[in-house]
């Protein structure tokens, strides 16, 4: 900046005013300064900017997952990709960290906050008794919770969520229409907010329709868990005629497990995967799946965070309800399903 000032024949402050669109310099000077800056390939030092109170031009994203669990999961990469798209427009950086659990995640937030490393964070995998919103409130760190339910207890946090309840209802609706009466839900991690929301909704919808046996089994999202639970429920005395899996990986593993037990899909048992991906079209039969646009989800979340950073109010935004794509793994229930 000193160089620019010299080349343009003005003071450093004038340069600062000119480049930041602040009043106090003539349009003519502003243009000249801009040109010189361009020529010299100047870019503001984020460190200096941050130090003089402008914020770090960075947002944080923590993924709390044991390293081994980071398997075949397209969701997060797509989410991040969408986030980036929006952040890049403003040249905001994304500080990314993978940790073991939520406690570590909180520690990371504290550190980032103390070190003034980030201006805000994106929180994923909200839980039922989640310490993170409280912490972020306490730290005053702007944050967007991705995938949480609207939360009135933390008016400072924005929320971007998909309507799992509506999606689950549509699945139950369709399965009921196809004659299914015994549905088992192979759910995700027990603590997660959306897992519990799906479980509650399934129960409610089943009750509303007078379906007898619905069951939700929580898992760790792994293919192994998907296969194991599938075997267990299909070997029970009165096996279900429909299985709803909370992710694509478990659904695929489940179909394989069912086949081994002599169950054919969809003749003997229908399968729905929550989360559509290439995976769903890589197995036979192609899996019916709940599809949503994860990239767009990320875009929305990032947009909300930027609004928050600009001083806007916290908001709760709902992305479109995941839509059930019917492929070949769902069909009319065997023997009336009763």
């Amino acid at each position: 900046m000193k160089d620019i000032a010299r080349h343009a024949g003005v003071s450093q402050s004038a340069v600062s005013f000119a480049l930041n669109g602040r009043p106090g310099v003539s349009e003519e000077t502003r243009d000249r300064v801009r040109r010189v800056a361009e020529e010299l390939g100047w870019r503001p030092s984020t460190a200096a900017r941050a130090l003089s109170g402008e914020g770090a031009a960075t947002v944080g994203f923590v993924l709390a997952r044991p390293a081994e669990t980071l398997g075949v999961d397209s969701f997060f990469l797509q989410l991040v990709s969408g986030i980036q798209e929006v952040l890049a427009e403003r040249h905001l950086g994304l500080l990314f960290q993978v940790v073991e659990d939520v406690a570590d995640e909180c520690a990371v937030y504290r550190r980032w906050w103390a070190e003034h490393r980030v201006d805000g964070v994106l929180v994923v995998d909200p839980r039922s008794a989640d310490p993170r919103p409280d912490l972020l409130d306490e730290l005053g760190l702007p944050a967007v919770v991705i995938g949480g339910a609207p939360d009135e207890r933390h008016p400072g946090l924005s929320t971007v969520w998909a309507d799992d309840a509506g999606a689950m209802a549509s699945v139950v609706d369709e399965l009921h229409r196809l004659g299914h009466r015994r549905i088992v839900h192979i759910a995700g991690l027990a603590g997660l907010a959306h897992t519990e929301r799906r479980i509650r909704t399934l129960r409610a919808e089943a009750a509303r329709r007078g379906l007898g046996e619905v069951e939700s089994v929580t898992t760790d999202y792994s293919d192994a868990a998907g296969a194991a639970v599938t075997r267990r429920v299909l070997e029970a005395p009165a096996p279900p005629t429909a299985l709803v899996y909370d992710n694509d990986v478990m659904a695929v593993a489940g179909v394989a497990a069912a086949a081994e037990l002599g169950f054919s899909v969809p003749a003997d048992v229908s399968v729905v995967a929550w989360e559509d991906s290439a995976l769903c079209r890589m197995v036979k039969p192609w899996l019916s799946a709940l599809s949503r646009d994860s990239v767009e989800f990320g875009r929305t979340a990032a947009t909300e965070l930027m609004a928050l950073l600009d001083g806007g109010p916290a908001r709760t935004v709902r992305v479109p309800v995941p839509r059930l794509i019917e492929r070949d793994s769902t069909g009319v229930a065997r023997s009336g399903g009763a």
Copy 2:
């Protein structure tokens, strides 16, 4: 820090010396300062540190992939996870960015450099005529190239690589032993260095053994491409008896495509996937695959980068050769394979 100085009854400089392990303060004072800092929950402001010449305490990682391509790929997430593990020990941040292509990637490096945002970068997917090493050399940005071949033209860059040539040789070896003579390699992206290395090695190994027909077809790593190429080569007059896929996704899609054409695996055609993952055990038959430890790969790369940041010399490190895990998709060639 001012607070600490006041509480401890010393000057700010003394505090700085004490906390950074610099000489110039007594052990007693050092301890006292440390205690006070602890009590006050002090953490250095990275911005201030960076501004006074200490570096940004951050390394960069750019993934040049169109958003849609970010599908079912466990490799990168695992790699990043390994990287993090090492960086976290030193409280180094990871600035992550997804861009469309290499040109954009270069632009990101330039920006990060100009903004003093990162102390070094990790480069993935090296290409055959890659502009990045030159750029990084020019900028003087410490960098580790992940997955490249040793490169004497850029003595400033460290390289961490897996021996694709050795791995490919072992695959050809095994397939040859099983009686296969016609092998098709469904390769990855044409420009990538490791793609070309694998193609060259396949050709060389085939020639060495007098195998006639080997072919490598480059793709975009997608399931669609995997299926399409598989159909094409299997419908040819003299179809191959063995298929080597450059990733797990294409292999799975390929097996499905083969089945549709009436080819049974491994009776009619053997399949090897380059990259082992849960996916390989989610289809029938389980896929034989080249397995490597991607998390460890990430750890190694991060370790090398830190060595570079500490002023160490650039090095070339080879991680263990991927090992062929034989499962159920490989077998003796049909009708002698000839």
